[in-house]
């Protein structure tokens, strides 16, 4: 039973991180219909910014997270302005290739500055909490708490504020949103900023129990793609539920099936589900 609960905890941790990354991806997709392959590089850039702030500037973990969110939001907005905006009328293939260009640039840039080594990120939350026979590492609890808090805040923002509503309106109908006077450029920039900040914070949350390295975003972003395809591209609840499904599938798969093959589980799940339902698990229309 303890072991089972331990896997639930692992699933929640992974699911939280995946949900945060997938949320950003799905928001950007909703607005621009761009599958942003560079999102994983944003995630990586977040971890490196925090790493830089903590080791070189000597500030603490929370400043690291805040800085990462700001830096990645900036990178994200810049890439919208400089790359995706000029391409908004181009065929889909061009978006994808351009986003791959950004991805390659950021990865190579990080490697040029910090080298190919793996780095450890320090966290103030190293203690282990004992609770009814369960061992709860504080950092994992922090990830779960912070992820759910951020998801809840994002939901409130999208549902309860006018600015948030403009994002939802744009995602629902671009022309309609323009007709009621919503500035498409502003909304696109805002969405990219939010997506970037979420990716940056997710990276800083997860990095202490993983490591910081240049290709750290690759698996996470690919899984985030799996999540948003499963949950329906552009769907916010779909990204959250999908993130948790993949998180749990991986945690339990690693424990009950094989640690070696745990990274394959998400992809195998996608292949399986799309083989049976090409339109995705929760999507209403066909792709």
């Amino acid at each position: 039973m303890e072991l089972f609960l331990q896997q639930v905890l692992n699933g929640l941790t992974l699911g939280g991180v995946y949900s945060l990354v997938a949320l950003g991806l799905t928001l950007v997709y909703g607005i621009l219909h761009v599958p942003n392959f560079a999102h994983g590089a944003f995630y990586m850039a977040g971890a490196y910014s925090a790493f830089f702030i903590m080791t070189k500037l000597g500030l603490n973990y929370w400043w690291g997270m805040l800085g990462a969110a700001a830096v990645v939001a900036l990178i994200s907005v810049l890439s919208e302005r400089l790359v995706f905006h000029p391409l908004r009328k181009a065929p889909y293939l061009h978006h994808m290739i351009a986003s791959i260009g950004i991805l390659l640039f950021l990865e190579a840039g990080a490697q040029a500055i910090w080298g190919a080594d793996f780095h450890r990120m320090e966290t103030p939350y190293t203690q282990l909490l004992e609770f009814g026979g369960l061992t709860l590492p504080a950092q994992r609890l922090l990830i779960i708490g912070a992820a759910f808090l951020l998801v809840a805040l994002l939901q409130l923002f999208l549902k309860k504020t006018i600015t948030g509503a403009t994002i939802v309106a744009m995602a629902q109908n671009r022309e309609g949103a323009a007709l009621v006077g919503i500035d498409a450029n502003r909304v696109a920039m805002l969405t990219f900023a939010i997506a970037g900040a979420l990716a940056g914070m997710a990276a800083v949350l997860y990095a202490p129990i993983n490591l910081v390295y240049t290709s750290m975003g690759n698996l996470v972003i690919t899984k985030a793609f799996v999540i948003i395809v499963l949950g329906g591209m552009g769907s916010v609840p779909g990204a959250i539920v999908g993130g948790l499904i993949i998180g749990f599938a991986e945690a339990f798969g690693a424990f009950y099936i094989s640690t070696d093959y745990k990274d394959i589980i998400a992809f195998a799940l996608l292949v399986l589900i799309l083989s049976v339902r090409p339109q995705g698990l929760f999507a209403k229309g066909a792709h």
């Binding site: 219909h33 599958p35 400089l82 790359v83 000029p86 391409l87 181009a90 065929p91 889909y92 293939l93 061009h94 994808m96 290739i97 351009a98 791959i100 260009g101 950004i102 991805l103 390659l104 640039f105 950021l106 990865e107 190579a108 840039g109 490697q111 040029a112 190919a116 690759n218 698996l219 690919t222 793609f225 799996v226 395809v229 070696d260 093959y261 990274d263 394959i264 998400a266 992809f267 195998a268 996608l270 292949v271 799309l274 083989s275 090409p278 792709h287």
Partner: protein
């Protein structure tokens, strides 16, 4: 004027390629060129499915790895003669491509790409983890070179170069035959619009699947050649970065043209050779270059040049016969734009 679209242009290129070993300063240059040719063969394959048929397959390097590992496993672990293993490399890649294509080609536009990205990861992870079959992260060492033909020894750089060149020319010729045939026209019709192609009576699934299998067949053969040429392979062959590399070659040269991917696949490695400092950081330059190309020169060098030429010809024709319709461009103009 019609230098590259005519036979003389291609023969000139072939003559240059044949003379290259005598012009090259050392064996190292030959090795660089041979490697570039191998990747050119794979890029030609990727161009068939992406440039001509409009489906961006992100698992392409995975299929190249399938070819490489087919040769590696068969020759090293099962003592199968190289040439049999080499043929099987293409066949196995195409067979796996059949099943992957059957599922993935039901998806459109970027869903297909995301799906194949995942397939590529599964291939990479399987190669890395399935140690009893693939030797895991250690890779396969000591793959035999192609056996001697007569007194030609394929461990020497020069015969190796000509061997690879032979397969490159063969691939280009086959690709030329395909794109000039009704089949090639069918693929381009699918690229220009699924619905339109279907309205013309084209069986979408069957033709996409055929394009996909042909495309990965080239990848498999390139992988097989790579295994026999480098004689050591690791899971890295399957990594998606190689697909990104090939995308770059294709895009710089000109997507959806015969010459473009070839130029890109040969030109870019040489450029990185001369920018030695950039070896590890080449994407600091090539990443933004990719973005700039996509924004300002989406048809690459060859595509832009051909479009310009075509426009000139059309203008000349229009001046001669007032009111005559312009020639329809065969360069991808707005593929996929209508079915987002």
């Amino acid at each position: 004027m019609k230098l590259f679209s005519s036979t003389t242009g291609w023969l000139l290129l072939l003559a240059l390629a044949l003379a290259f070993p005598f012009l090259a300063g050392n064996d190292y240059h030959l090795t660089v060129m041979s490697t570039a040719y191998i990747y050119a063969i794979a890029t030609i394959g990727l161009n068939l499915i992406t440039g001509y048929t409009g489906q961006y397959n992100l698992a392409h390097s995975g299929f190249m790895a399938v070819g490489a590992y087919t040769v590696g496993i068969l020759t090293v672990d099962h003592q199968v003669p190289f040439w049999i293993a080499f043929v099987l490399a293409g066949v196995v890649a195409a067979a796996i491509g059949f099943f992957v294509g059957l599922v993935s080609l039901r998806l459109k536009t970027h869903f297909f790409s995301i799906f194949t990205l995942c397939v590529g990861y599964i291939m990479y992870l399987l190669i890395e983890k399935w140690e009893s079959l693939t030797h895991g992260t250690v890779g396969i060492i000591g793959i035999p070179a192609p056996p001697n033909i007569g007194s030609i020894d394929f461990t020497e750089p020069r015969p190796q170069y000509y061997l690879v060149l032979f397969f490159l020319v063969l691939s280009l010729w086959i690709m030329h035959r395909i794109v000039r045939s009704l089949l090639g026209r069918t693929f381009m019709a699918i690229r220009n619009g699924d619905d339109l192609a279907q309205a013309l009576g084209i069986n979408l699934m069957r033709n996409k699947l055929l394009a996909f299998m042909l495309s990965v067949f080239f990848a498999g053969l390139a992988g097989g050649l790579y295994a026999g040429f480098v004689r050591f392979i690791g899971p890295g062959v399957a990594s998606v970065e190689h697909t990104f590399d090939m995308t770059m070659y294709m895009l710089i040269g000109g997507i959806g043209t015969l010459l473009g991917p070839l130029l890109g696949a040969i030109g870019v490695p040489w450029l990185t050779q001369y920018l030695q400092v950039l070896q590890d950081f080449r994407f600091v330059v090539f990443g933004p270059l990719l973005v700039i190309l996509v924004i300002f020169l989406p048809y690459g060098i060859v595509g832009t040049w051909m479009n310009r030429k075509r426009r000139k010809e059309a203008l000349a024709a229009q001046a001669a016969v007032p009111g005559s319709p312009r020639e329809v461009s065969s360069i991808p103009a707005a593929k996929g734009a209508t079915h987002a």
